[in-house]
Structures are given as structure tokens and as C-alpha cells.
């Protein structure tokens, strides 16, 4: 059972993932998100994974694909709030998500998207 929500914050799309994400959910999310980015010409995508306590290789690839597709649509993708155990699992699986931006919190992620000029 999962619930994902996509919220538009000015020119940034905030995606919150709650609970477990099945492969179908992940593909649906990728589809919806890419469409949304194209429609709203968003500048950035924030994916909040703090509610996720399980990330498998498929989801890792989906995140990577989302980042790639968004980059083609001129939007930067930042994954925020990854839990320690999830991070360790991903590293142990060898999924280091290269090229994907990361931040501790949604606020940090927004700062990152707004450029280094607004760094704390």
C-alpha cells in the first residue's frame, strides 16, 4: 500500500512517497512525473523518500530514470530524506545513484535547487 503525492511549489515539483512502492507504482510515478515536468516546465523535482523504509534495485533505477528524463526536460532532480538503513542497503547493493542530487531535508533540497547562492 503506497501513497504518492505530487505538489507544485512554484516552479518545483515536490513528490512525497509514503509506504512501500511496488514496481507498478514506481512506473506510474515516473510517467506522471515526467508528464508533469513537461506540462509545468518545472525547474526542479524534489523526491522525498523519508517515508520509504525499503528501496530495491528497481526503485533505484526508476529514481535514476526520473532524474535522467527530468534533466532532458531541464529540471534538476534531488532525492531528500533518505534513511540511514536505506542508504546502507543501497550501497551494499552497489546502487550509488551517481549523478543524482541528494539533500537531508526538503528545505535543504529547495536551497540546493535555488542554487549555491542561497547556501546556508
Amino acid at each position: 500500500m503506497s501513497a504518492t503525492s505530487v505538489v507544485e511549489l512554484q516552479d518545483v515539483l515536490l513528490v512525497t512517497i509514503q509506504g512501500e512502492l511496488t514496481d507498478e507504482d514506481a512506473m506510474a510515478l515516473q510517467e506522471e512525473l515526467t508528464t508533469n515536468v513537461a506540462r509545468s516546465s518545472a525547474r526542479g523535482v524534489l523526491i522525498d523518500v523519508s517515508g520509504l523504509d525499503l528501496v530495491d534495485s528497481f526503485l533505484a533505477r526508476t529514481l535514476h530514470d526520473i532524474a535522467g528524463a527530468s534533466a532532458l526536460l531541464a529540471a534538476e532532480t534531488v532525492v531528500v530524506g533518505m534513511r540511514p538503513e536505506v542508504a546502507i542497503t543501497l550501497v551494499e547493493l552497489g546502487l550509488t545513484l551517481p549523478g543524482l542530487g541528494t539533500a537531508l531535508t526538503v528545505a535543504d533540497g529547495l536551497d540546493r535547487l535555488n542554487g549555491s547562492a542561497r547556501r546556508r
Binding site: 531528500v80 530524506g81 533518505m82 540511514p84 536505506v86 550501497v91 545513484l97 537531508l104 547556501r119
Partner: protein, 285 residues
């Protein structure tokens, strides 16, 4: 030998132990097992040991180290084992086999038929052998407990996560990093990154004696996991010899930032979070 005769022999031996208590205790007190003790303590321990052994023989449990009869002897054995500071192989380890000689001598000095003497010999030897096994078991389990406690202490000691500044954490790694300690260090660092909302984490390996491929791999994994969570990792305190070893081993830390000293790493961390250190204009000292 039938069970009936066996019981007769046991009763006979138990009776012998009871009647010759003081002689046996006196003989035992002069053996190396007890000479290190104060005479009063030694006498008390001898008496306890003897009572316990008699109980074991009466109940016929002389060949079973886990028998209930030995329960009465265990406190004495534990105190014997506690004195063996040198460990199982130490030269000062108490050896209860020295108790056998005096005991068998006293047994043989009695005026008894030969077959009873032989059977009694067997019973007494058996019970002392069992005693020795029980003592060894106690020593081994005491050693294992000590090792476990020390390992736990070491693990606790080795993983303090230090807050250097708002958003900057450091973890000084010390000694040899095996997989357990490394894993605990990683986990506590990542947990603290979340708890303290740290943007930069410094892994200081000044106190690490050797870096092999496994340790390097672990450092790298920690750094990547921290990056996935949105924090940057800096590895500091790489001594020249270690740097050379790492190059010779072909270890590549990739894009992880490295610095020679913790101070350099701290400076870099301050830059990352957008702070600078500048001299105080007022010149206060």
C-alpha cells in the same frame, strides 16, 4: 561388576572420605592448588570440595561433569578458576590433578581387600577427572565472558560521533577496523547525520593503524551512503605511510574528498556550509 557392588564401593569410598576428612584436608592444603591461599580460606575450600565430592560419589554422578552433585562444588571451582590469571594455558593455572595423589595414597593406606582398593581407586580417579573437566569448563566460560565484555567495551569506545559545528560531524576512528566495528561506526554516523541535520561528516582515520582494501572499501561505502542521504563526507588524517600503502594497493577513493589533517578537513567543511573563519578585528587575546 554389578550395579549393586558399584553402589557398595561408592558407599565405602564415601565413608572413607567422611572418616578421613581431616587427614585429606590437611594433605590437600599443602598442594599447590591451595598453598597460594590464606590457611583459613584453604581449609574452608578443602572442606567444601570434599563435602561436594562425597555427595557426588554417594549419588553416583562421578562421571558426569554436569551432574547436580557437582553444583555444591562449583562455587569453590569458580573461585579457583578466578585465580588463574594466566588463562587456560598459564603456568599458574590451578590443576586439581595434584589432589589425586594424596587422596589415593590415603585410600591405599587403609587395610582393605585388594579388589575394593582397586574399585575405589577407579571411583576416586573418576571423580577427580570429572572435577577437572568441570573446572576447565568454568575457566573457559569465564574467559569467553571476559572476551565478550571487552569486545562490547571496545565497540562502545571506538564510535563516538562528535559535533564540531552546527551541521558538521566528525567520527574519529581508532585502532583496527574490522567489519563489525566498521559497520557500527557507519551506522552511528548515519544516524547522527539525521539526528543533527549535518551537511558534512568527517571520517578521521588518524588513529587507524592500517588501511587495507577492506577498510578502504568500507570508508568509501560510508561516504557514498552519507552522500545518498544528502551529506558530504571528508576523509582526514591519512598519514603519509598509509597514503603510500593505499596507492600501492591501487585503492581509489573516487570523488570522496580527502585531507591530511582533521583541521584541514574542518576548514573544508566550514567552506561547504558557507562559513569562514576570520581574525577578530578588535584584536582580543
Amino acid at each position: 561388576m554389578t550395579a549393586g557392588t558399584g553402589q557398595n564401593i561408592r558407599d565405602r569410598v564415601a565413608q572413607f572420605l567422611k572418616e578421613n576428612r581431616s587427614d585429606i584436608e590437611r594433605a590437600w592444603a599443602t598442594t599447590p592448588v591451595f598453598t597460594a591461599r590464606r590457611p583459613a580460606d584453604a581449609a574452608e575450600e578443602c572442606a567444601e570440595l570434599l563435602t561436594g565430592l562425597r555427595h557426588v560419589i554417594e549419588t553416583g554422578g562421578e562421571e558426569d561433569p554436569s551432574a547436580g552433585g557437582l553444583a555444591t562444588v562449583r562455587p569453590v571451582l569458580a573461585s579457583l578458576a578466578a585465580r588463574s590469571a594466566g588463562g587456560p594455558s598459564g603456568s599458574d593455572r590451578p590443576d586439581v590433578t595434584v589432589l589425586k595423589g594424596p587422596l589415593l595414597r590415603l585410600w591405599r593406606e587403609q587395610d582393605l581387600p585388594e579388589d575394593i582398593v582397586h574399585s575405589g581407586d577407579l571411583v576416586l580417579s573418576n571423580v577427580l577427572n570429572t572435577l577437572r573437566i568441570a573446572l576447565l569448563e568454568i575457566e573457559l566460560s569465564a574467559g569467553t565472558e571476559t572476551i565478550l565484555a571487552q569486545r562490547a567495551q571496545l565497540t562502545e569506545l571506538s564510535t563516538p560521533v562528535i559535533k564540531l559545528w552546527d551541521g558538521i560531524l566528525a567520527i574519529p576512528l581508532i585502532g583496527t577496523l574490522d567489519s563489525t566495528r566498521g559497520q557500527i561506526a557507519t551506522e552511528s554516523l548515519l544516524e547522527q547525520i539525521v539526528a543533527q541535520q549535518a551537511r558534512v561528516a568527517i571520517l578521521d582515520i588518524t588513529g587507524v593503524t592500517a588501511v587495507d582494501t577492506l577498510v578502504a572499501q568500507h570508508l568509501l561505502k560510508t561516504a557514498v551512503a552519507a552522500r545518498l542521504m544528502g551529506a558530504e563526507c571528508i576523509i582526514s588524517g591519512i598519514r603519509p605511510q598509509i597514503a603510500q600503502t593505499m596507492v600501492q594497493l591501487g585503492i581509489d577513493l573516487g570523488e570522496v574528498a580527502t585531507r591530511a589533517t582533521l583541521a584541514d578537513a574542518f576548514g573544508q567543511a566550514l567552506r561547504v556550509i558557507g562559513l569562514t573563519v576570520c581574525p577578530d578585528e578588535r584584536g582580543a587575546g
